[in-house]
């Protein structure tokens, strides 16, 4: 009896021993992630959905787009916790902006390009290029010199580069305008269909238009640096609209129309559910209403009337929190909140509008950068204003009638004409760039980052830093490099600073120098 127990016991031990030492065969299968698809199973349409959503969300992210973009360009002002409006930025916000344009929407666009190349799908390839350029241009326009040729290459198959070198803004610009040219050629309506496009509803012609319109925006930004090249490229494109289709109306706007509920709602809508920290800037309201010879009727959409009553009133930029709260006796009730149109859940996130393109064309003709254009600078300029009014046509008409400024039945064109005629917006050939810059600034309301780039490039309208600013009285012209990059890529960021200049809010980027 005892013997039997012994043998059984020993056998059990031996079996366990064998199992313990040899049973690692299923380890590889066990360690294969069952929760997520491998890279081989990438779905281009799902990547595309994410690229558009992620890039737009980031552009409109409240701290970046609203508080640095819109406040710095003085469309908006902060009335509580006014740090950002005084140019005291949050390092976390800068880190997030950098990391997400690179490693979220940027990396997804790069991955889409790879997937599309492997599957020989030119339309996805072209669209991937458009979105990669959108991300790249935002990054370089914010920071100046940034990683590009070595960016997005951490994967072992892509070179395993963990600390990419920085490229000069000039070299980046020269490449991204070429990439958009390539994208325009790749995207063809008779090519393979796409899906997952939440911006243009899979309309390939609109992607072509976006590629070309954005290309004009970028060419114009580099226009002070290489007049012959920019002139040749812009003129070539304007001369051949069949080959280079561009936005023809607000229907073509590159914009993501958000949906009614979280997480697909507009980031500003989400912010306004719990916060009341912002008011429309005094700079903007003064120009549109308080100091306007008549009125820029878009004010009825851009801003709400103050809760304490009366017409629109802006809040000065760059006050301390205490001063802003005490402004006019009560900054919160005496100043205008952002208009309901912009705080709605479904308010669009605009990446580029028809109106902006018209002002680019106006500037191109005015400065002689576009030869052989079908229209004059003034015509493009006015088309920009009309385009902007049409962007908010229903809301403007409803509001001006409700407020009793116009009679029922008035058309948006009549209202826009009234503005050009009486609101101080008439074309002035002697001060053409001031007119173009100012109207572009007004038209690009709530497109904080792009408006900030354009305003500092054109120099109009002239913005004055708020009284309690902490940037030596200067309006920022650049974003400082992220603290993250100093920690993770110190050698290359130091090299970039030595080339570009002091890493602060005031060093101008290449195209602005």
């Amino acid at each position: 009896m005892k013997r039997i127990v012994n043998i059984k016991f020993l056998t059990a031990l031996v079996v366990l021993f064998v199992i313990a030492s040899s049973c690692t065969k299923d380890f590889e299968e066990m360690n294969t992630d069952p929760n997520n698809p491998s890279t081989e199973l990438a779905a281009p349409e799902m990547l595309l959905t994410n690229i558009i959503e992620s890039a737009t969300d980031r552009t409109y992210e409240i701290f970046l787009g609203h508080e640095m973009g819109n406040c710095w360009v003085q469309h908006m002002a902060k009335v509580q916790y006014t740090d950002e409006d005084r140019y005291i930025y949050r390092t976390g916000v800068i880190n997030n902006a950098w990391n997400s344009f690179y490693s979220a929407s940027g990396m997804d666009a790069v991955t889409l390009y790879k997937v599309a190349t492997a599957r020989k799908h030119d339309n996805y390839k072209g669209i991937a290029l458009v979105m990669k350029v959108y991300n790249t241009s935002l990054l370089t326009d914010m920071f100046g010199d940034v990683p590009y040729t070595e960016a997005w290459r951490a994967g072992v198959d892509d070179g395993g580069i963990l600390s990419p070198v920085f490229d000069t803004q000039e070299s980046i610009y020269r490449d991204i305008v070429k990439k958009l040219d390539t994208a325009n050629l790749l995207i063809t309506e008779d090519g393979s269909e796409i899906a997952g496009d939440i911006m243009f509803n899979n309309d390939l012609l609109k992607w072509k238009k976006f590629a070309n319109s954005m290309r004009m925006r970028l060419l114009m930004r580099m226009s002070s640096k290489d007049v012959p090249y920019v002139t040749a490229e812009l003129s070539k494109m304007v001369a051949d609209p069949a080959k280079y289709p561009v936005f023809e109306s607000n229907d073509d706007n590159a914009q993501l129309i958000y949906l009614g509920s979280n997480p697909n709602n507009n980031p500003i809508n989400e912010n306004r559910k719990t916060r009341d920290d912002h008011r429309v800037s005094k700079t903007l309201i003064d120009m549109m209403w308080v100091n306007n010879p008549n009125a820029d009727w878009r004010v009825t959409v851009y801003a709400n009337t103050p809760s304490a009553g009366g017409y629109w009133e802006g809040c000065p930029n760059g006050l301390t929190s205490a001063k802003a709260l005490a402004y006019l006796g009560n900054g919160l009730t005496k100043t205008s909140k952002l208009g309901d149109y912009f705080t709605a859940a479904t308010s669009p996130g605009v990446l580029m509008s028809y109106a902006e393109l018209q002002f680019i064309l106006a500037e191109g003709v005015q400065r002689g950068l576009i030869t052989g254009a079908p229209h004059t600078a003034q015509e493009y300029y006015e088309a920009g204003i009309y385009g902007s009014y049409h962007q908010y046509a229903d809301e403007i008409v409803a509001n001006v009638v409700a407020e009793g400024f116009f009679d029922e039945g008035v058309t948006i064109d009549e209202i826009a004409a009234d503005y050009i005629e009486n609101g101080g917006a008439a074309w002035d050939p002697d001060n053409a760039m001031e007119r173009i810059g100012t109207e572009k600034w007004l038209a690009m309301f709530e497109q904080g980052l792009q408006s900030l780039f354009e305003t500092r490039r054109i120099g109009y309208p002239v913005l004055v830093a708020g009284e309690d600013n902490e940037n030596g009285g200067k309006v920022p012209v650049r974003f400082p490099y992220p603290t993250d990059e100093y920690a993770k890529n110190p050698t290359n960021v130091a090299a970039a600073v030595s080339v570009q200049g002091t890493d602060d809010l005031n060093t101008k980027v290449w195209w602005n120098k």
Partner: protein, 1032 residues
């Protein structure tokens, strides 16, 4: 065959001795309870002949006439030698070893060892020490009692987690928590709920272990002691041995204890009570959302209080649609009154018994806690059963099973958001009568609150936005041991730890952040199984040489399943079911599995009082690439009991021991870190749901290799004057290399992190403990003082080429970093702008923001504790002091409390304004002159204290706490009752020293590496109560 020859030899020897001998019989009993002690070795002095006592403690031994004395030895008892006389009966009463130093401890693989034979440092705590002042979480009970153990209790919320770190943080990633082993089986200590700037702290695994069922806790601090436990032991091991019934002790014993404690906040901020809500001295309530004068502002820069002013307020009566002005008066205790007296009642009953061949113990514990925060609770029922027996002479089986059911109807929100009621007490209006908010809806069902801009009514949050929890857990093990011969045995065993944790989070309609409500359910199921075998050989080779060898193997498998469903907005208010969703429901699930197979050996060779220990273990982990998944690591240690080697030991020296040991421990990583995947996003559009995919931020690595920790330890134990003075000293030097960490890489690379083998962290330090029997009077008066001290020097030696910081966590602009050359946990944030002499630069009277720099570090310089016990007959009084020297803390309560003008210091300059101390730019625009610009207190505080200026809210976290106090009396015998004891107890009684204003410096979010941050966690609690225990 060998066995046969051995038996023959034994027989022969016995036969020879029969020639001239007599038989001595007797009984060995315990001095403690008079019961017989089975298994005592009875040895004829000067020979290797001996017998063991039987289950009743009786023995019978044949001794030659030449024998002079018998030696009685038993682990944990003082060795006795009795000279032989003419009598053939020798009864012996054995004493428990007086001090812990010579005691027996449970070491790796569940092997009991005499402490003095160990080559590394082990400190143990007896079960009664843990239940002395009754903490719900057993981890907290170790505070101050063991040198080198740093415990951070996160908050006073019910079920909140505690972080325990042994000998400093070794790894950049993970939580650096030690491995918990209960009766030989590892127990999961995972977090049950996310804790960060949002979420609920649902505690972590070990909180489920019932202190009443614990016999003893051994703390194996360094890897040296723990090497045999493998990968998870690199942060040390805490071995918990549960109570068992005693075999051979006939009859049934019943023990009952009741402990009731009452909790209140240890520390609340010192508020100002002179100014009420508002800004610039103005306030008037219309709608609480900026419709009136500063009525949406949740700050206290408003009009002066208690000067007879009448102002319309949130609770003022409305007459004809007009809110009537009411007296503007202070409510100094408004926050204090919000808290209730928390109660925690524990009832434990245990029945144990046994006979010659079997034993059992059954215990039931009911723990019922009501939080200090209204409407929060935690209930826990624990059933524990352990049993063992010897079905045949050589076969023994034992096992235990524990079932724990924990439940809460509401655990409070914890992060810095509207779901944590503390947030509005960091802000707020000082005139508020907070308890008046108890009724949180108006008669028409609408919200009733003081602010409609930022905050929920706190009672609404606690009654409507509830976080429920139900957790079922079963763990246990069973073992079969077979004894082939006296010196060879083997055992096989299996252990299982299985828990299912179900949480729900309700957010009601009209919530400030989620006006349409919200509902989420989460369920996590975790199972770990361990199957092991061990072959044990233990033989005295000669009189002086003993050899023991163990060899075994283990198969570990861990499965973790997580499911969550969510209704982002509710369609019908008040119905908390995921089907009731206004928008598309969300669902998530993940499954994770890993396995480790191991083979190991350990052994000890002793020669007289010299002990050489060695071990080796090879692991195969499923989480590493096939070619790198096997790794071996050894340990070796040597110890010598110098006092036993001395030819003549001086009478004042009780023990002198020296030890040295070296160990290496390898470890693996989490599953699925090797090959790249895509992730799914939230999707676009509820109706036509477009799925989105994205490239995750972590770049996997197919070339990972195991990480290793090396440690060298040298120590000494000294005891003097019959163990009246005990001194233990340890020096250690440990280094962790090749850590598997997600190293941060430039975002421009397309990823944020890459898994890589990199980084080196070193921990060097000393640990000392001193036990003093200051008074030991024959009358029974006794005063024992235990002092422990530990200084750990932690250094992040290197990260990875080109990487200068490793971010452990970031909250707003406050970053917690690992920086080479500094200890773990640098607090990195904004300083003021300063001139060359370090003066703060002001512009228009406002201090300016400067650059980012290291403002502090959360690692303490040293920690220590002093425990005093005074006994006189049945009376016992004890108290424990706990000291943390150094380390820093960032306090959000200080930052926003100053910004919002609610704290006492914000009174400075309210009337006359403030001239900030420092300089301003002179008119030449180059040089600095003293600042002389007066600004309002509101402007000054808002500039100097905010989330973009951390310098002003970083404090030295040094503290001295009166951690425990107990006054008790034990009645020896009252009728049938044994050991009736009654005691008054207190925990976390007083913060005796701290320079941190307003908050308890001991606080944290969770048990991760992100420490040193105070973000409005619920205050820690001071508990007072009583305990009654009785045995039948």
């Amino acid at each position: 065959m060998r066995k046969l020859s051995f038996l023959l030899v034994l027989l022969l020897l016995t036969a020879m001795q029969v020639l001239a001998q007599r038989t001595i019989t007797g009984k060995v009993t315990s001095a403690e309870d008079g019961g017989g002690i089975p298994g005592v070795t009875v040895l004829i002095k000067g020979t290797s002949t001996g017998v063991l006592t039987d289950l009743d403690g009786k023995y019978s031994i044949n001794v030659p006439e030449s024998a002079t004395a018998l030696q009685f030895t038993f682990v944990g008892m003082t060795k006795q030698e009795v000279a032989l006389t003419v009598s053939n009966v020798v009864d012996v009463v054995m004493q428990s070893e007086a001090t812990k130093i010579e005691g027996v401890v449970v070491t790796a693989l569940g092997i009991s060892r005499e402490k003095k034979s160990l080559g590394y440092s082990v400190q143990d705590v007896k079960g009664e020490e843990l239940t002395k002042a009754r903490e719900a979480n057993v981890v907290n009970s170790l505070t101050g009692k063991v040198a080198g153990v740093q415990i951070t209790n996160s908050s006073g919320a019910v079920g909140a987690s505690s972080r325990i770190v042994l000998r400093g943080v070794t790894s950049l990633s993970g939580d650096n928590q030690p491995l918990f082993v209960v009766d030989g089986v590892p127990i999961s200590n995972s977090n049950f709920g996310g804790t960060a700037t949002d979420g609920v702290n649902r505690g972590s695994g070990v909180a489920d272990i019932n202190p009443d069922d614990i016999e003893s806790v051994s703390v194996l601090k360094g890897p040296n002691a723990a090497a045999l436990y493998g990968s998870r032991a690199s942060n040390g091991v805490i071995i918990i041995t549960t109570k068992k019934g005693k075999m051979g002790k006939k009859g049934i014993g019943v023990a009952y204890t009741n402990t009731s404690t009452f909790d209140s906040p240890l520390r609340l901020p010192d508020y100002q009570n002179s100014y009420g809500q508002g800004s610039s001295g103005k306030f008037s309530f219309v709608d609480g959302a900026n419709g009136g004068v500063n009525d949406g502002v949740d700050e206290s820069w408003g009009p002066k209080l208690d000067v007879g002013t009448l102002i319309p307020q949130w609770d003022s009566p409305i007459v004809d649609g007009e809110r009537q002005p009411t007296p503007w008066i202070s409510h100094p205790d408004n926050v204090k009154d919000f808290f209730e007296v928390g109660t925690a009642i524990t009832n434990n009953i245990a029945i144990e018994g046994g006979n010659e061949n079997a034993n059992f113990r059954i215990s039931y514990t009911n723990f019922n806690q009501k939080g200090m925060v209204p409407n929060t609770d935690l209930k826990r029922n624990t059933f524990a059963l352990s049993a063992g027996g010897n079905p045949s002479k050589n076969l023994s089986i034992d096992g235990n099973v524990n079932y724990i059911n924990s439940k809460s109807d509401n655990m409070p929100g914890y992060g810095y958001d509207a779901q944590n009621v503390m947030q509005q007490f960091i802000w707020g209006g000082r005139q508020l009568n907070i308890t008046d908010l108890e009724q949180y809806t108006n008669e028409d069902g609408s919200k009733r609150n003081w602010n409609y801009n930022y905050h929920n009514n706190p009672y609404f949050t606690l009654h409507e936005n509830t976080n429920k929890m139900v957790r079922d857990r079963i763990y246990g093990n069973s073992r079969v041991t077979y004894k082939f011969t006296d010196y060879l045995s083997a055992r096989i065993g299996v252990g299982v730890d299985n828990w299912t944790n179900w949480n729900s989070a309700r957010i009601a309609y009209t919530d400030i952040d989620n006006p349409n409500g919200f509902y989420r359910e989460e369920k996590t199921t975790f199972t770990e199984t361990n199957m092991d075998f061990l072959i044990m050989f233990n033989k005295k080779l000669t009189e002086d040489i003993n050899l023991s060898l163990n060899a075994g193997g283990n198969m570990m498998n861990q499965q973790n399943q997580f499911n969550a469903v969510e209704a982002p907005e509710l369609a019908v208010p008040g119905v908390y079911n995921v089907s009731n969703s206004k928008v598309a429901q969300k669902a998530f699930n993940t499954y994770r599995e890993k396995a480790i197979n191991s083979l190991y050996f350990s052994g000890q060779l002793s020669y007289q009082a010299l002990y050489l220990d060695f071990s080796g273990r090879n692991d195969w982990s499923s989480t590493l690439p096939l070619e790198n998944n096997s790794y071996f690591y050894p340990s070796i240690s040597l110890s010598g009991v110098v006092s036993d080697m001395l030819s003549s030991k001086p009478s004042w020296l009780s023990l002198a021991k020296a030890r040295i040991s070296w160990a290496k421990v390898g470890s693996d990583t989490d599953p699925y870190q090797l090959s790249p995947t895509l992730s799914f996003g939230d999707g676009w559009n509820a109706g036509t749901k477009l799925l989105n995919q994205f490239v995750p931020n972590d770049l996997p690595n197919a070339e990972l290799t195991p990480q290793f920790t090396n440690s060298l330890e040298i120590g000494a134990n000294l005891a003097f004057f019959e163990n009246r003075i005990n001194f233990d000293f340890t020096w250690y030097d440990g280094t962790t290399t090749d850590q598997i960490i997600p190293i941060p890489i430039s975002g421009a690379s397309g990823f944020a992190r890459k898994f890589i083998n990199a980084g080196e962290i070193s921990n060097k330090g000393i640990e000392m403990s001193l036990g003093l029997g200051i008074i030991k009077n024959p009358s029974g008066l006794e005063w024992i003082m235990d002092i422990n001290f530990a200084k750990n020097t932690n250094e992040v030696v290197e990260l990875y080429e080109g990487i200068e910081q490793y971010q452990l966590g970031t909250y707003w602009d406050m970053q917690v970093l690992a920086i080479p050359g500094q200890p773990m946990g640098s607090l990195f944030g904004y300083d003021f702008l300063r001139d060359d002499d370090g003066n703060v630069v002001h512009r228009n009277g406002i201090p300016q923001q400067g650059g980012l720099k290291v403002l502090g570090n959360y690692t303490p310089d040293w920690i220590g504790g002093v425990n005093n016990t005074l006994r006189y007959k049945g009376l016992e009084f004890s108290f424990l002091l706990d000291y943390h020297k150094g380390g820093d803390i960032y306090s959000m309560t200080n930052s926003w409390g100053r910004y919002a003008g609610v704290l006492e210091e914000s009174l400075i300059g309210r009337e006359g304004g403030i001239v900030g101390e420092g300089v301003k730019l002179a008119e030449d625009g180059v040089t600095y002159v003293p600042n002389d610009v007066v600004v309002t207190a509101e402007e000054y505080n808002k500039a100097a204290f905010s989330n973009t200026l951390q310098y002003s809210s970083v404090f030295d976290a040094t503290y001295l706490k009166l951690r425990e106090m107990k006054l008790g009396y034990t009645f020896k015998q009252i009728g049938p009752l044994n050991n009736l004891s009654i005691s008054l107890i207190g925990r976390n009684l007083a913060l005796l020293y701290s320079t941190v204003p307003h908050v308890d410096p001991e606080t944290s979010f969770s048990n991760t590496n992100v420490q040193g941050l105070e973000f409005g966690q619920l205050p820690s609690s001071r508990s007072l109560g009583f305990s009654i225990g009785v045995k039948f």
